[in-house]
């Protein structure tokens, strides 16, 4: 289901069409909604690098998303840093956190790995509850978007949108490049048969750790962007419900596909916006989607559509 090693000539029109859509869509659809979808799409793509290509289910990715959001928001608001520097700081923190959490969690496999990441993320949550910089229940509000490179005023919604789109597209291209590189091939070999990869002489632990750090760095990038878009970093971003949501997006869209997490993220965000007015039903519907995905279509939306896409030569 994955895209072939380079974007083939038959895929080019499709990729360009998507890009074109991304450029003109804010004229028709509320841009803040689109930015939310792009931020979560990036988050899900980062998460999918682990689950889809290494077979590691992290249940604690909200830690990187949320803490990165806090750091970016704090740097932009309290220190008055420019947005690009604030984002860099957020990503740097997520990368460092990812290195520590990954190093600890990779000691165990399978569901234990999932539980450890979840528990460590909860540790991050409790720190966020108590730390003075996060402002507890209130979160960091009124974060200034600032001037990008001192030139572009991001308080203009359209400027912000195109900045988010640009970061999103570049990140996705990078992640696409990673999974189709020799490094990515080793990751897939580990996913499919870890003992074989070990016997071939690969240092499996190191590969897993690098993938984990990469994934947390991009999850952090998504969180940093989100805190600038909504001018808010809050406890919801670090809670384990957020970790669950990113799993849901990836599962719904299709694990191990490039397009899937993006589609899943937009669907989940649309569901949240649509049902926002009726309280707990959002959670119930998310739960039902989880159950239905696991029982009936484990390959997700893009997996179900894969034969159709394949016929048109869009995916390999």
């Amino acid at each position: 289901m994955t895209l072939p090693s380079s974007v083939s000539s038959r895929q080019k029109p499709f990729v360009l069409a998507l890009l074109g859509l991304g450029l003109v869509l804010p004229l028709a659809v509320y841009p803040v909604f689109l930015m939310k979808g792009l931020c979560f799409g990036l988050f899900a793509a980062a998460f999918n690098l682990l689950l889809g290509y290494v077979g590691l289910l992290s249940f604690g990715h909200a830690m990187f998303f949320g803490w990165s959001a806090y750091v970016t928001a704090y740097a932009a608001k309290e220190w008055g840093l420019t947005p690009e520097l604030a984002i860099l700081l957020g990503v740097a923190l997520a990368t460092a956190l990812g290195a520590v959490v990954g190093w600890l969690a990779i000691r165990r496999q399978g569901i234990y790995f999932a539980m450890i990441t979840l528990a460590l993320a909860q540790l991050g949550f409790f720190v966020a509850v108590q730390a003075p910089m996060t402002h507890g229940e209130d979160g960091i509000q009124g974060v200034p978007r600032g001037m990008l490179f001192g030139l572009i005023d991001l308080s203009n919604t359209m400027a912000m949108y195109y900045f988010v789109l640009a970061v999103f597209v570049l990140s996705l291209l990078f992640l696409h490049r990673v999974v189709n590189s020799p490094f990515g091939q080793v990751l897939k070999a580990i996913r499919d048969n870890e003992p074989r990869a070990i016997s071939l002489g690969y240092e499996v632990t190191r590969y897993k750790l690098i993938a984990f750090v990469l994934s947390s760095a991009f999850a952090g990038l998504a969180g940093s962007l989100k805190s600038l878009v909504f001018q808010l970093a809050s406890l919801a971003d670090v809670s384990w419900h957020m970790s669950g949501e990113v799993v849901l997006m990836t599962l719904l869209g299709g694990v191990g596909t490039v397009l899937g997490p993006m589609v899943g993220a937009f669907l989940v965000v649309a569901i949240q916006d649509f049902f926002a007015g009726i309280g707990s039903w959002v959670i119930i519907i998310q739960g039902i989607i989880f159950v239905v995905c696991v029982l009936l279509f484990r390959s997700g939306m893009i997996g179900v559509l894969a034969p159709w896409l394949k016929r048109r030569g869009i995916t390999g």
Binding site: I116, G244, W281, G287, V291, V294, L295, R298
Partner: protein, 294 residues
């Protein structure tokens, strides 16, 4: 009277609270270990079913007039029935797949169950009073012991040790252990393994429901009481290693007490101390205190 500068009243009070929390950790991680042993599924919905147990007790009291002792029998039966339906209709389809799907499915179920109770009863807690037979307390001289809290510790000890005895020392337990080792072989001896699996799941979630009823008079009955607890229990499970039934019981009590002591000496760290212990244990013994292999 003070010990290490802490008034004994406060010290023993927190120790008792820790012991009670430990009792709940032990009952829940025991159920998780049982279910994991035979079904190979990490039951993420365990916390939600614990909450359901507490809610069934509350509903039974308010709508049927059924008191605490009745609820202690009815709630586990109701929840076990729900568990059996879940196992027969959904979980049984996942046994041949990667373990992760079981985790994801039960996570979805937890969201549904919690969401439905939130929708029905809001997020604020409902009070449930201590049964009159267990009201009041004893003054032990060095501390005041509410009778109900003492009862919870005793009840959970009896339940945990009874389960341990049934699994490690009886014939039924031997079948169960054999079923986890080699289901095909056990089936060849004419034992109905699928039925055994279903009943084990029912029993495991019934344990969670009993814990829920026991918890109802101590904590408020609220839809989020399960999700708050389950992640701590997961950390307990990682620390203990889920290698043995006794291991999960001992780890549960031990960590409850560690948490209680932290509340006395350094309250700021109380909510995180179990996770920190997890980090330390992972560094020294990645398989957990009682675990075998990865």
């Amino acid at each position: 009277m003070t010990i290490l500068g802490i008034p004994t009243q406060a010290l023993f009070g927190q120790l008792l609270l820790g012991l009670i929390n430990g009792a709940f950790y032990a009952m829940l991680s025991l159920g998780l270990a049982l279910i994991f042993g035979l079904l190979n599924i990490i039951n993420f919905s365990h916390g939600a079913l614990y909450m359901m147990g507490a809610f069934v007790a509350w509903l039974a009291l308010n709508f049927l007039g059924l008191g605490y002792w009745g609820a202690l029998i009815v709630a586990p039966l109701v929840v076990a029935l729900v568990g059996i339906v879940i196992e027969r209709t959904m979980l049984c389809r996942l046994y041949k797949l990667d373990h992760l799907y079981g985790l994801l499915l039960t996570f979805g179920l937890a969201l549904i169950i919690e969401g439905l109770f939130r929708e029905g009863y809001g997020v604020s807690g409902q009070p449930y009073s201590v049964p009159s037979a267990l009201a009041g307390g004893w003054n032990l001289g060095f501390m005041f012991l509410p009778i109900y809290r003492g009862w919870v510790v005793v009840a959970s000890l009896v339940l945990c040790l009874g389960t341990w005895y049934a699994i490690e020392k009886t014939k039924l337990g031997a079948y169960l252990r054999a079923g986890t080792e080699n289901p095909t072989l056990v089936q060849a001896f004419g034992i109905n393994v699928p039925l055994m699996i279903t009943l084990t799941y029912g029993f495991g979630v019934a344990l969670a429901a009993i814990a829920g009823v026991l918890a109802a008079p101590i904590y408020q009955v609220s839809p989020k009481m399960g999700s708050d607890l389950i992640i701590v229990v997961f950390a307990v499970v990682v620390i203990g290693g889920m290698g043995s039934i006794m291991g999960s019981i001992l780890t549960g009590y031990m960590l409850g007490i560690v948490e209680g002591l932290t509340k006395v000496f350094y309250p700021e760290a109380a909510s995180t101390v179990i996770f920190m212990v997890m980090v330390v244990v992972l560094l020294i013994k990645p398989a957990g205190l009682f675990g075998k292999g990865a």
